[in-house]
Symmetry: C2
Subunit: 204 residues, 2 copies
C-alpha cells in the first residue's frame, strides 16, 4: 500500500502510530504494563481508541511493539558505543558498562523493560515474552563476541558471567549508592577477565 509519502502530518502518516507507541512505552515502563489500560494510553496520546486498535490489533501486540522499540533503542545505543572501540574489546566492554551503570543509576530507572514484562506475563506464548527472550539471548551473544576478542580460556563462560552481571545490575538499582554501579561493574568485569586469562581453569 502506498503509505510511502508518510510526510508530515499528512494523511496516512505514521504520526498517530508513533504517538501511541511512544505514549504507551512511557506509561508501560513507569507504571507497569498491566496497570496501564488502553483507555489511559489513548487519553494521554490524544488519539481515538479506534486508532489504537487499527494500528495494533491487540493490547498484547502493543506490548510486544513496546518491547521491540525498547530493544531497538538499547541495541542502537550499544552499536553507537561499540563503533567507537572496534579495535579494543576491553575498552568497548568498559564503555558499555559505563552507560549501563549510568542508566541504572538514573532517578526514575525502573529496571529492564524486558525483564519487567517477562515478570508480568509468565505465559510462554505471550508475544511480548518472545521479544524479551530474544533480547536476553542477544545480550549473551554480543557479550560472547566481545569475550572472544579478549583472549580468555572459555569465552562462553565469561559471556555468561557478564550477562548475569548486567542483568543483575538492571534489577539491583535499589541497592546501589549513587554513582556506585559503573565502577562496581567495571571492577567485577576486570576481575572476571583476569581470572579467565590465568590458566588455573584446569579443574572442573
Amino acid at each position: 500500500m502506498s503509505k510511502i509519502s508518510s510526510n508530515p502530518v499528512g494523511h496516512g502518516s505514521t504520526d498517530v502510530r508513533d504517538r501511541i507507541l511512544e505514549t504507551a512505552s512511557k506509561l508501560f515502563y513507569k507504571q507497569g504494563v498491566r496497570a496501564v489500560g488502553v483507555d489511559l494510553v489513548v487519553d494521554k496520546a490524544g488519539v481515538a481508541k479506534t486508532s489504537l486498535y487499527r494500528h495494533f490489533g491487540t493490547k498484547d501486540d502493543l506490548i510486544a511493539a513496546f518491547l521491540e522499540r525498547e530493544d531497538q533503542d538499547f541495541w542502537g545505543q550499544w552499536d553507537r558505543v561499540a563503533a567507537k572501540y572496534e579495535h579494543d574489546a576491553r575498552a568497548e566492554l568498559d564503555a558499555h558498562l559505563g552507560w549501563i551503570g549510568e542508566r541504572v543509576g538514573r532517578p526514575n530507572y525502573r529496571g529492564c523493560p524486558q525483564i519487567n514484562v517477562a515478570a508480568e506475563f509468565p505465559e510462554a506464548d505471550h508475544p511480548a515474552r518472545k521479544v524479551a527472550e530474544t533480547h536476553k539471548r542477544e545480550m549473551r551473544r554480543r557479550l560472547k563476541a566481545i569475550a572472544e576478542r579478549l583472549d580468555v580460556a572459555v569465552p562462553d563462560e565469561l559471556a555468561g558471567q557478564l550477562s548475569v552481571l548486567v542483568n543483575g545490575a538492571f534489577v539491583s538499582s535499589q541497592i546501589f549508592e549513587p554513582g556506585e554501579a559503573t565502577p562496581l561493574l567495571r571492577h567485577a568485569a576486570e576481575a572476571l577477565i583476569s581470572a579467565g586469562r590465568s590458566s588455573n581453569r584446569i579443574d572442573l
Copy 2:
C-alpha cells in the same frame, strides 16, 4: 470433608489461613500476582471468600504476606546452609551459590518472587514493595558479612558485586544451560574474591 481432626487448635485454628496463603503463594508465583484474582485463590484453596478477607484485610496484604513467606523460606534455607560453615566463609559462599544455582535451574523456576512483584507494582508505597526492598538489602547485608570474613580490601564492594551476581542469576535462568549456573557463579565469585585480595585496588 473430615477436615482432618481439626484438632487442638480447634477453633481459631490457623489451618485456613495457612491454606489460603500457601495456595495464593503457588498461584502468585506461577501466574503472576496481578493475573490471579481472589476468586481463583478461594476456589483453589477451597475456602470462602469471607475467610480470605478475615485473615488478610486486603489483596495487597495477602501479596505482602506472600512475599514475607517467601522471604522466610529463603533466609531459612540460607541459615541452614550457613550453620554448616560457621568457620569457613569461603565454603559458605560456595554452598550458597550451590543451592541458589540449583534453584535457578529448576524446571518451573520463574525468578525471584521479590523481584517479580517489585516489577508488577512500581508504586513505592505498596506494602509488598517494602518487603521486597528489605529483602534485597538484607541480601547485600549478609553478603557483606561474608565478605568481611574473606580478607578482601573492600568488603562492601565485593558484597555489592556478589549481590548483583545473585540477583542476576535470579533473572537470567533463561540463558543458562542445564547445570551451568552453579559453576558459573562459583567461578565468578572466585575471580571477584581473588581480585579483591590482590592489592591493585589503590586507584579510585
